[in-house]
């Protein structure tokens, strides 16, 4: 993605790091990665072909077979399913002549399903040739396909997703959407010095917004303490957690403050190179980001001696993911940037010590960087005026599902679920999934819990990573859980047994529940196996994959009672006879 100027700057990368961009080029040009392409790449990087194929087959936007002149990805996240995924799929199939998962006979259209594309506030949505199309309905789909058939390009006819910033704290207390002037935060660096920056972050108690909430100053301080060079700053813009789209809106509305946060990090830890790892689903945002990077260069805010600070050289380039939720996990992200399969590393070293290319690396979320530059710009004192003591500041929340006003809500920490539901016009809320499928489901009975980083014990307050999906009382919980389970089964990197096999096994159990075959024993096993995955999986994906299931079973008694048959004296198990002989009955003369 990077222009020549940057390439010269980035002298440290081994060739292999460019593998993903090379694959992207082939995918876009030939609509698949051909055998010949694999052969050529293998020769170029001195690898065996199977190694390239391993990378290609890991990412779901790379295809080994032609994926159509126009490649269509339908979002199949739970919100899309509830907003009419099935109808949209049917219409696409009818209009294009392609069945889901295939291309039409002429190879013009390829139709695929993909997990959340970060447009939950515009469902049903799809990506066509990696451009967004939102709020789809049968008529609109028909129109789109006709236009494509007439020779228009997806770029010409795509939608520009609205930012839907629905709420910011009253009386100009917004942090993220305050007026922004390029360079304002950077201008503070020279006076604050490294220690001053860390001090500001420490006082504002900023913790990582990628979901783990690790104190940002601590991460930076540790990275700073290593003498190894060069160091790297990586902005994690993989935003894969279904129902989350706050990073999308930040990147589109506030790209400057994100970049400034990265520059502040580079200054503090002594890093020379920065990368934004943008998820493939947000390819349509790449141009905007590159323009912003250029604008920083033009103002001397990137490159050599940034803002006149002698010896402060730093540049940023953009890297594109290619469809893999697990690449949001920081060590998987590093592997992916090195041109490999996005498999999380074993946790010997943290990236701050050995990250990209085994060199010290800071990985932070988009929102974290944006918060940093705002804290520097406004000052920690001002920041501390928001939120509640012990949990200061504001948080971006992406709301979707059954509510009147889906979109981005910048809330001050300390708001209650009930207040948030009021703001967004929640319709008969019943089951709320906080922080995405890997987060926790809460029942409307818990609506007086505060959203904060305090009192997390005993389920008093609740943290929110950014996704807030509302489901009304008509929605089927098992259906929701099946959707999550399918997501994890598909998105597991496959490296470790409990997650690779476990998610598959858990799904079989849920199928039993869905088919009315489950008994109390299944309930017990679901919980126990969920716990096994949590304890033994390598990374957060496997560790959290069964959270929602286990917690729903505990919290939604009223829903689940009666769905698990009592086993006390049933010596004959439930068995679906008809289903079991259905295949054979086809041979009845």
């Amino acid at each position: 993605m990077s222009t020549d100027v940057h390439q010269n700057f980035f002298v440290v990368d081994p060739e292999r790091s460019q593998l993903l961009s090379a694959l992207w080029q082939h995918q876009l040009q030939d609509r698949h990665i051909s055998r010949e392409a694999i052969k050529r790449l293998a020769e170029k990087y001195q690898l065996s072909e199977i190694e390239i194929e391993g990378v290609v087959s890991f990412y779901h936007f790379f295809h080994l077979k032609p994926a159509g002149k126009h490649t269509i990805y339908l979002n199949k996240s739970i919100t899309a399913e509830l907003k009419g995924f099935e109808r949209i799929r049917e219409t696409f199939e009818r209009e294009t002549g392609a069945r889901l998962g295939f291309t039409d006979p002429s190879g013009t259209f390829g139709l695929f399903a993909t997990p959340c594309i970060g447009l939950s506030d515009h469902e049903p949505a799809a990506l066509i040739d990696f451009y967004p199309f939102t709020n789809l309905n049968a008529l609109k789909v028909k129109d789109i396909i006709n236009k494509l058939k007439e020779g228009n390009s997806a770029a010409e006819i795509c939608d520009i997703p609205q930012e839907n910033i629905r709420y910011t704290p009253a009386n100009n207390r917004t942090i993220f959407f305050a007026p922004y002037t390029r360079g304002e935060a950077i201008a503070k660096l020279a006076t604050l010095k490294q220690d001053g920056v860390l001090e500001q972050l420490k006082r504002s108690e900023l913790s990582g917004r990628g979901g783990a909430f690790f104190p940002t100053w601590k991460k930076w301080d540790t990275c700073r303490s290593y003498a190894t060079s060069p160091k790297f700053i990586i902005c994690n813009a993989d935003e894969g957690e279904p129902g989350t789209f706050k990073d999308r809106v930040l990147l589109s509305n506030q790209p400057g403050s994100v970049i400034e946060g990265m520059i502040a990090a580079a200054y503090t830890v002594g890093a020379s190179y920065g990368m934004i790892y943008l998820r493939g689903e947000y390819r349509w945002l790449a141009k905007k980001l590159e323009e912003e990077i250029e604008a920083f260069h033009a103002q001397g805010l990137l490159g050599k001696s940034i803002a006149g600070i002698e010896g402060f050289d730093f540049d940023i380039r953009l890297e594109l993911g290619a469809g893999a939720y697990v690449c949001g996990e920081e060590t998987a992200l590093l592997e992916s940037m090195e041109g490999k399969r996005g498999e999380p590393r074993t946790k010997w070293f943290y990236p701050v010590e050995k990250g990209y290319l085994q060199l010290p690396t800071v990985v932070n979320n988009v929102e974290t960087f944006a918060a940093v530059s705002r804290i520097l710009q406004l000052g920690a004192d001002e920041y501390l005026k928001r939120g509640i003591p012990g949990s200061p500041g504001t948080k971006l929340i992406s709301i979707s599902g059954d509510c009147e006003r889906p979109g981005i809500y910048e809330i001050e920490w300390g708001l209650t679920i009930a207040e948030l539901l009021e703001l967004c016009g929640g319709k008969d809320p019943y089951f709320i999934q906080v922080s995405g499928p890997s987060g926790e489901p809460i029942s409307i009975k818990e609506k007086f819990r505060r959203i904060s980083m305090l009192d997390l014990k005993d389920q008093k307050d609740i943290r929110c990573g950014g996704s807030f999906m509302i489901f009304n009382s008509e929605r089927d919980i098992v259906h929701i859980l099946m959707n999550f389970s399918e997501f994890f089964k598909h998105e597991s990197c496959g490296v470790c047994t409990p997650c690779r096999a476990g998610n598959f096994i858990i799904q079989r159990k849920l199928e039993r529940l869905q088919n009315g075959l489950a008994d109390m024993n299944d309930l017990k096993e679901l919980k126990s196996w969920g716990n096994l995955m949590k304890t033994t999986s390598r990374c957060g994906l496997g560790k959290t994959a069964t959270n929602s299931i286990i917690q729903s079973l505990e919290k939604f008694d009223d829903y689940f009672t009666g769905r698990f048959a009592k086993t006390d004296n049933s010596i004959i198990r439930k068995f679906n006879h008809q289903l079991a002989v259905a295949d054979y009955e086809r041979y009845k003369p």
Binding site: S48, W348, H490, V495, K509, E525, R538, R573, F575, V581
Partner: protein, 422 residues
């Protein structure tokens, strides 16, 4: 390097600083199960998770931990023991392991680990995913049904010019280990055999090289970290409170091998006849139950509707229900068809096979014929099973010991050697 003290389950041990925890534990006589761990691979793979312990308070794999002063490890708490066992069980339900038909049997780390951890049945549903058997490589056969994706081959098997031969493909539950045909052909014979040997399962087979060792000399024939139990031969129960019991037996979707094995008790069958009488059973040729029985023994799983009815009848008529043999326990050999849709199986058998008549166009179907199920079901999926005797087949002593201990409540002691069927 300095010698450090570390603690396992509250006991103090010593080892060189930086030693891998698995090795350090082994040197000190503590067994930590492991499958993917392979001494030379650095950093360790950490893929199988069967070595999960509590290390300084966190659940982590032992193979990715190193000895340092004061390291605290919990290895044998009941939860950890059960979790490690569960992980190995998971591998058996994820792959399709038919040990009686496997070249690696007796030399297989996975099978060995199954024995060591005392697995008799997996608690998980078998996934019966259809995996490829790849005959295309020049020298090797890749049996994907048996691969546990440990990644040893990826890291260890390189051509002389350092190119990888194996690599993971796809992801999630579709993950498999691909082999590069071109690079495979460039391996030396020695390198190829090494690939087969480092594979902890029978997934990599080198043509013509597999059955190198006779029974008794295979890698795991005599090795066990488990204590050998004392041998107890079949003794008659104490005559004092003796009461003759009735038993029923049946073979469903099995091969009668388990029944033959029951007869393997030789002349001791006479003793057994004194202790028990048989009701419905192929041994007596009594077709229908004539009375309620103390114990029912079932061989084989369910492949058709008649099997299901019979099994339910057994459950109703017997106080205790025992299933014997792998087929009854989880499906066994007949379950080889479970990865293939029923239609394909039937059409191959009746319409398209070499011995079918020209122009044959019907698959047998008649009201009087039992209906064939979409897959083999284990007995436990249809009725509640009280006890399972694994083995293919279990030995006579094993079966009768179970019977005896169940009927007369005697202590059951199982020999490691009795339990090893490979």
């Amino acid at each position: 390097m300095a010698t450090c003290s570390f603690w396992i389950d509250g006991k103090k041990y010593e080892a060189e600083e930086g030693t891998n925890l698995i090795d350090a534990a082994k040197e000190n006589g503590v067994f930590i199960p492991s499958l993917c761990y392979f001494r030379h691979i650095d950093p360790p793979l950490g893929t199988c998770r069967t070595c999960t312990c509590k290390i300084n308070g966190r659940n982590d794999p032992a193979c990715t931990a190193y000895i340092h002063e004061g390291l605290q490890v919990e290895v044998n708490t009941p939860e950890l023991v059960d979790m490690r066992k569960a992980l190995v069980e998971m591998m058996f339900s994820e792959g399709n392991h038919f040990c009686p038909a496997c070249e690696k049997s007796g030399n297989c780390n996975l099978q060995h680990m199954g024995y060591e951890l005392g697995i008799s049945v997996t608690r998980f549903p078998h996934l019966f995913k259809d995996h490829l058997i790849d005959y295309q490589p020049k020298r090797m056969i890749m049996e994907h049904n048996r691969c546990i994706k440990c990644k040893r081959c990826i890291e260890e098997v390189l051509t002389t010019d350092e190119k990888r031969v194996f690599m993971s493909l796809n992801r999630g539950n579709e993950t498999m280990i691909g082999i590069d045909y071109e690079q495979e052909a460039r391996l030396t014979d020695e390198q190829a055999v090494n690939a087969m040997n480092i594979c902890p399962t029978g997934a990599i087979i080198v043509r013509g090289k597999s059955m190198a060792k006779p029974f008794g000399e295979r890698a795991f024939d005599m090795v066990s970290a488990q204590k050998q139990f004392k041998h107890n031969i079949l003794e008659k129960p104490n005559k004092g409170n003796f009461e003759k019991k009735t038993i029923a037996t049946v073979s469903l979707a099995g091969c009668f091998g388990c029944h033959m094995s029951m007869l393997d008790i030789d002349e001791e069958i006479m003793d057994i006849a004194e202790l028990v009488s048989f009701n419905k059973s192929p041994l007596t040729d009594i077709k229908n139950f004539t009375q309620r029985c103390h114990l029912g023994i079932v061989e084989g799983g369910c492949c058709n509707t008649e099997n299901i009815e019979t099994l339910k009848k057994f459950r109703e008529m017997c106080d205790i229900l025992v299933v014997m043999g792998e087929c009854a326990v989880w499906g066994g050999l007949p379950a080889m068809r479970n990865t293939i849709p029923l239609g394909e199986c039937l059409e191959e058998a009746y319409l398209n096979c070499v011995t079918s008549e020209q122009g044959e166009n019907t698959v047998p179907y008649h009201e009087d014929l039992p209906k064939i199920l979409d897959r083999i079901y284990s007995c436990n999926e249809i009725v509640k099973v009280d006890y399972m005797i694994p083995g293919c087949p279990p030995t006579a002593t094993h079966i009768w010991k179970v019977v005896k201990s169940l009927l007369w409540g005697e202590d059951y002691s199982l020999l490691y050697s009795e339990f090893k069927y490979d």
